[in-house]
Amino acid sequence: MTKTIRSHSELPQFTRRQVMVGAAGLTFAFAGCQNAADTSPDGTTFSSKEMSPWVTIGADGSVTIMSPAVEMGQGSRTSLPLILAEELDADWDKVHIAQAPPIESIYGNPGFGGMMYTAGSFAVFAYYTPLRIFGAQVRQVLLQNVARHWQVPVGELSTEPNTVVHTPTNRRIDYGTISSFAEVPEIAPEVSEATLKDPGEFRLIGKDVMRVELPQKIDGSAQYSIDVQLPGMIYGAVLRTPVFGGTPESVDKSKALEVDGVLAIEILPYGVGVLGETPWAAFEGKKALSVGWSIEGPGDTFNSRQGIEAFAKDARTRSRLTKAWEETGDVQSALNDAARTYEGEFRSDYAYHAQMEPLNAVASVSSDGKTCEIWCGTQAQGVAVAATADALGISPAQVKLNDMLLGGGFGRRGPRDQDFVIDAVLLSDRVKRPVKVMWTREDDLRNGRFHPMSASFVRAGVNADGQVTAWHHRKASDLATKSQDPVRYEAAGQTDFISMAGTEIKTYAIANKLSEQVAQHSGMRTIALRGIGYVHNKFVTEVLLDEIALGEGIDPVEYRLSLLNGQPRAKKVVEKAADMSNWGNTPDGHGLGVAYIDYKSQLAAVADVTVNSRSGAIKVHNIWVAIDCGIAVQPDNVIAQQMGCTVYGLGLALSESISMNQGIVEQTNFHNYIVPRMPDAPNIEIEIVHTSIPPTGAGQMATPLIAPAISNAVAAATGVRLRHMPMTPERVLSALNA
């Protein structure tokens, strides 16, 4: 079945009698029902009943549901409306999905304080209960209307998909017909969580439906912002300062202006824009520019090879430069009292998102400069509107957003300044024409914002029985949260959660714990990347824990299980992954390594590797992943996401590295930023451990498991510990020869 996906601008506007109802932390606008004769201010007659801005039921029985998250491949455009449809008992074949407009008071994610922000595996996790309650409220309104219409007690009514049934008489009426006489109350009916469906009654949740936009992704019709075509549109390319904070000081436009098709050169605060009749003209014009930059700040002298040494020194020797991320008990005393201690220094390089669609946006600023329409693939709709309004000095109400499909996000499209949108906005403002600005892949790397480079120093203490009693993790990294989003950084009490999340030990039974950050100020642009801080931090935790297990003479799976006593969800995934891998029966010459993470969802993985001692190359043969993400709303998609996470994690583990010299990114394209290709992908097996707790997230979950599982497998195969991501052949060789 092919679903239509409507843009929100095609739907009726909700301008009247909106009653705000608070429910489960999410504010719903429960709009007044329109009479059939109602007309909007522009004279259009409504053909359907708006039950609320979330749901519109048409006379033909169509049920249009807003999707508040953006779609970047993770499946939220299907999963979120499906959750609402479940409790509404909508017929999925009649459901249409519309992208919600950027009204954060209505559609904001409760997990992000009401911000419309698609990230962190937070969409299904945080919207799940509010959307169920909301669907149930709409269903309740339908039932009440039928009860009144038929003069029967509401208790005698039940629902089947898109149909209300009077149980004693088996009289039936479909939702479309109800919408022709329904009245929506001023105040939404009370629905408590306890009255929602039992998971056993689900018709949609837990059953796989086709992701709604898939048919468009096999015939070339899916629309990303890079595909937008507008009458009179021209093309822009921007040569940006190579180091953050720089400005163009001297610009020689002459050669660029000679390029066939170049229309204009515009100086921007942070770079130089070239406008052309075609993309090729703009790109060629940009190449022909000669620009001298004025750069002030720490970034312009930064060299990442020296930087990581400085980070590592700080991680070893300094402390308490920022507040503790997690502190329980007295870690120093526990270390002093320990029977044995273990310690290790761990490093991770900068890493790049490499979303397949290079960053781009289209903007059209009106001739008077007072309104603007934008087309972009953003992970933060409200932020994109606000950044555009700020750039133009207009009100957000004068900005119209068309949020398009994202050709991958992985965190890159969420920063507060929406750098890739503002390029198009500023250039369109200069010429008052629609402008599509595309970054080349080289721009996307040069102007990248990266997973922060990190160095960690960890000390752990065990008692005479080999149980961990103390865990001290000190991490040196740039303040990624501050760099990505100063607003959220301040709101979080100046906490760098993007870097630090995952340094805490949530589930293992360890009495004395301290994790703390030694903030670095390299001047580099850092940001969230799929798996955020967990990627480095769980590499640290799981590799050192493995080393302790072997040091104490205990099997690494058994050791983890002993630390997870009383944590049945956690133990189950570790046992499952061990089972899947036939743990304990390692093929000759191979090594198996295990890793476990608590990322709200519970996951464990086992990697099976061999190491080429001559080249240093690690060959990953198999990866087995077990995930308990609570109720799997779309199980097949949960599996697809974990497969994707595994491949993504593989690249971060083995090959992906960004380096800088004089503050300038040294990688330029896919020949020197190496992402996994098909021959690199191991055999991947994913199993869901089903539980009936509400969903705990799936989109990025397996990513942080992969590097520690591989490092532990390499240790099992060779006896050598790898503590620097990525584990490139050069680093493997140097460890083997150490």
Binding site: G75, M210, E213, L214, I226, L405, M678
Partner: protein, 151 residues
Amino acid sequence: MPISFKLNGESVSTNAPPETPLLWVIREGLKLTGTKFGCGAGLCGACMVHLDDQRTFSCQTPVSAVEGREVTTIEGLSSDSSHPVQKAWLAESVPQCGYCQSGQIMSAVDLLNRNPNPSREEIIGHMSTNICRCGTYPRIVQAIERAAREG
């Protein structure tokens, strides 16, 4: 002097400078946007089209090189997604973000056109030209095997 060629069976022509990559002529000149820009360097495969009977990186092909020849894009594969590879792609729910998938499908069709029953190793070798950052590789393999089986 305009450059003329056949695009999905129809005669088209362009006044683009001859060195312009075919990719930009298709996407922004002729407005068939299913073919994607990924790297501009023949490294990722998002721009893959068929030139006559051979898959080709359209970002590496100057438009002058296609004069008088036949170019097929994802839009020309079928009018109703009925090509066996497209059907297999849906049956295996391959796409995630979907951005690379036109190129993946064009590479897969090229493989099956010349080798209707490829081994797994042949599939992996052939498809190594195409990057999928969402990591759909396992499902791409399954879809190609399905298309070979059911094609």
